[in-house]
Symmetry: C2
Subunit: 386 residues, 2 copies
Amino acid sequence: MTSSGGPPTVETIAEAAGVSIASVSRVLNGHGGRPDTVRRVERAAAELGYVPNRVARSLKGGRTRQLTFAMPDIGNPAYVSMVRQIQTVTKPLGYRLLLHSTDAVAEDELDVVRSLADRTSDGLIICPIRVTDAHLAALATASGPVVVIGSLPEGAGVDSVRADSVSGAMLAVRHLVALGRRRIGFVNGPADTVPGSHRATGYRSALAEAGLAPEPELTVATDFSVEAGAAAAGRLLDAGLGIDSVFCANDQLALGAAHAAHDRGLRIPEDLAVVGMDDSELARASHPALTSVDLGSGERGRLAAEMLVARLEPAAPAPGGPASGGSASGGSVGRVTVAPRLVVRASTAGPGAATVRQEAARHAPPPERVAPPGVDTSAVCAGSAT
Amino acid sequence: MTSSGGPPTVETIAEAAGVSIASVSRVLNGHGGRPDTVRRVERAAAELGYVPNRVARSLKGGRTRQLTFAMPDIGNPAYVSMVRQIQTVTKPLGYRLLLHSTDAVAEDELDVVRSLADRTSDGLIICPIRVTDAHLAALATASGPVVVIGSLPEGAGVDSVRADSVSGAMLAVRHLVALGRRRIGFVNGPADTVPGSHRATGYRSALAEAGLAPEPELTVATDFSVEAGAAAAGRLLDAGLGIDSVFCANDQLALGAAHAAHDRGLRIPEDLAVVGMDDSELARASHPALTSVDLGSGERGRLAAEMLVARLEPAAPAPGGPASGGSASGGSVGRVTVAPRLVVRASTAGPGAATVRQEAARHAPPPERVAPPGVDTSAVCAGSAT
DNA sequence: CTGAAAGCGCTAACAT
DNA sequence: ATGTTAGCGCTTTCAG
């Protein structure tokens, strides 16, 4: 017997339809054929429940039509919105998306980059939490197109999309200062990560700008999680530093901080104003709703995906030449920065604004971006990308 | 030239090392060889940065060592914890996990099951939100092992792990009744989904058990999201039904409900007790912390993964025979139910308990499962699996 | 329009 | 221990 057991293959179909495997392939790929042949092949395929073996197809074609997205933490809503936006651009193009949670382990990140070489996916979007020399080396020699979501040194030779979290942090702190807060705590994630160090820089710059002396004990660095936020804010509050507000490096930390404040009987924002970052769904879900700096997670995901597919499909090639292909080998390296926006909500708005919010909220949808009275009329403030 | 351009292949290495491709393959797979040969091959491979083409390897071996997990919503923390637990069992075995968010679209779920036939992954864990005849048909003819996380009719012929959400819902409602609440609202997800209908059943049973008449207007069905929860709870509260508590079909809904209550100036739990479901991190992050029914998401993920790998690797085959392989063709069909547990927190505990909690929370880690005074001393109540 | 045949990169007989 | 070869399932020349 020629084709037995196992799932049907082109050969099985060919036999059933009485044609050659070449005809089967052609028909199944819509490459024409005599009406009669087409009909017979399609019938046989349908009857036998034929599904092309994608692995074989990939081996032959050299492409898998699969893309990989590697993020530090699948539980972080900011990455979830990146995933959603990436999907919206890749799915219509017929790509499958492989999701990889690296848990912020550098070695795991490197593995992901290297695994591009195993031809399992055609391209990669990665959010490295740290960028070491090893990362740069791996990225430089990556065997397929890569787009980094994060800050890379100039001339890294890889497409990237970054948030301007330095400006974003400044937006947050300036907002607190404008509200009259002077003892501004900072709950950061790990300080040795790119986001962590940038946010710390922005925090310090904004303080300096406001003529406030930096006090190291006002900063607590931990981990990007709700639990860490609660613990860190707790320490800050219990230390008797007279904190009147706290800027948190992401919404999870801010949620934890709000929790710690509540546990201590503090009112938000009266006793403690809280600002988060990422403007994830957590910010809206929290009570009071969190003022947060939108770093454009979804937007960054979308842009990264667009840059990646541009490398993959030289759809509308520039009239200049046939440049395309692997990471930065063809075409010039892209480097986009997404500007941050401050979204003001009840966690920093005064009691007056809080009342307004509450009133309006009786009628869905609840209002967003309510400006605190007499402070800032445009609640959404774009930061300058530096 | 024999091997040029492109990435190095076994042939490239063979030439560089001066051996045959078979030797390259053997050495690289640790199948022995003369020390000298091994050294030369390894050196050549390292120098050329050789990475085996996994697609070719899969085509040859018939397995990809990739597994797929399909869930309705990647933004739901309950699924995130499933992902984490699945990883803990599959990763050590060398499997890669492909994550797929179906957005609760039935057609997408069917596609995922069918796509098992394209040989892209060796097995599938799926959480269908609805189980139609089409689902059962697709599952029955799946061309690889599948484990369903969810309730399947008896004799479905597929391994499954289910939560007992009927009992879980009863646990929640009984708890509210024990607390003296009588006007218990119910914020459900879509009623035509399996989780939705089961939770509704549990809600009604527990009411009946307590001698409370069912009032259809106390139930609002929407969508499993924070926004939907806020909107639904808002309608419930604005309808003047005298609601004193609300049971929500998941934590996202509960968070939304809590938000709606706050917006209306209601205190939790004094004016409105709130119970969620899934005991996700949202329950802890919320303020006040949410009482929630733990449906064992992580546990279900772990069990499903274990059942799946058991099909994949007949590691320790039962002495009976060599039964194994595809979904339920070999070996008997597994069907496990995970018992629910009620986790009591401040959103239902009386003011007294809330104080206790608040006190204790000053010293990390914050206490969990605080029993409301005089109601239930064992805060964690296992439900009977029916 | 159709069929025969090559070959994607790899592994595993099989032969030496 | 090593080399030769077949073949996984598919697409795509190349003849006819």
